[in-house]
Symmetry: C2
Subunit: 150 residues, 2 copies
């Protein structure tokens, strides 16, 4: 496992890969039943009649799995992966049962905080791919990162 990274360890253009997670129909339905109970996430047959034309994972399920891949990747900011929010967030394609997801994180900007000298902000693009290397989620987020070892 790589060392923890402080603000000055990050540089624009750095990229971090990830492991992979395969999602199945049972998990898609279970997540949907709890958080996004709509026909296209719950039932194969009902999903055929919808915009998705077949069972698809909730976008929030894709987002949550992408977070898991990020937390377990070599992107290891000291203090943890703490997102303040996103400037942009899109789901260009649905995630289907059997899809295998990976993510890539690219550093876009690194800047010290003016108000809080012990921390800074890293802006990063996180792309989630399926097994055909199609982008299923893309977002640009802002993370709080510690500047120095405490």
């Amino acid at each position: 496992m790589k060392d923890l990274q402080y603000l000055d360890d990050f540089a624009v253009g750095q990229r971090f890969g990830s492991g992979h997670i395969t999602i199945d129909a049972k998990e898609i339905k279970r997540f949907a039943a709890e958080f996004d109970p709509q026909p296209f996430h719950m039932d194969e047959q009902a999903a055929e009649e919808t915009l998705f034309q077949g069972l698809a994972a909730s976008g929030w399920h894709t987002a949550a799995l992408s977070m898991r891949l990020l937390v377990e990747s070599d992107f290891r900011p000291a203090g943890g992966v703490i997102g303040m929010g996103f400037d942009e967030f899109r789901w260009p394609l649905p995630v289907r049962p059997g899809d295998t997801l990976t993510i890539e994180t690219e550093i876009l900007e690194v800047r010290p905080s003016k108000s809080q000298p012990d921390q800074g902000i890293v802006k990063a693009r996180m792309s989630t791919f399926n097994q055909k290397h199609e982008v299923v989620q893309i977002c640009v987020g802002n993370l709080v990162v510690k500047r120095h070892k405490a």
Copy 2:
């Protein structure tokens, strides 16, 4: 339950409320163990030492619960609540064990699709509040909505 809403049923300035969901420490930890395994979402004691200074829900947990509130609200676009993505997405404050969440959805823009005559886009701001009416999540999203009854 209200009727389904087609594109022309939406107008700028409309607001939709929601029911409420209370989140507890057990659920915060269970969600985190599956999707966001970091100390500040998993363990009260470890969380004290972090930026959150106490157990806090994963932002993705807040997002997923907000989706559940939205799907069960009076905002009922025909074809389902289908988000393409967000122009803006922020978590201004952490969600804590025992917090009760509600959402409010406000329509910002309604426009027919140029390429697909049977559908359109609704831009909406979705705000998630805790029991003190503090905003814990705010986002501006774009949803695909059917124009007419099939």
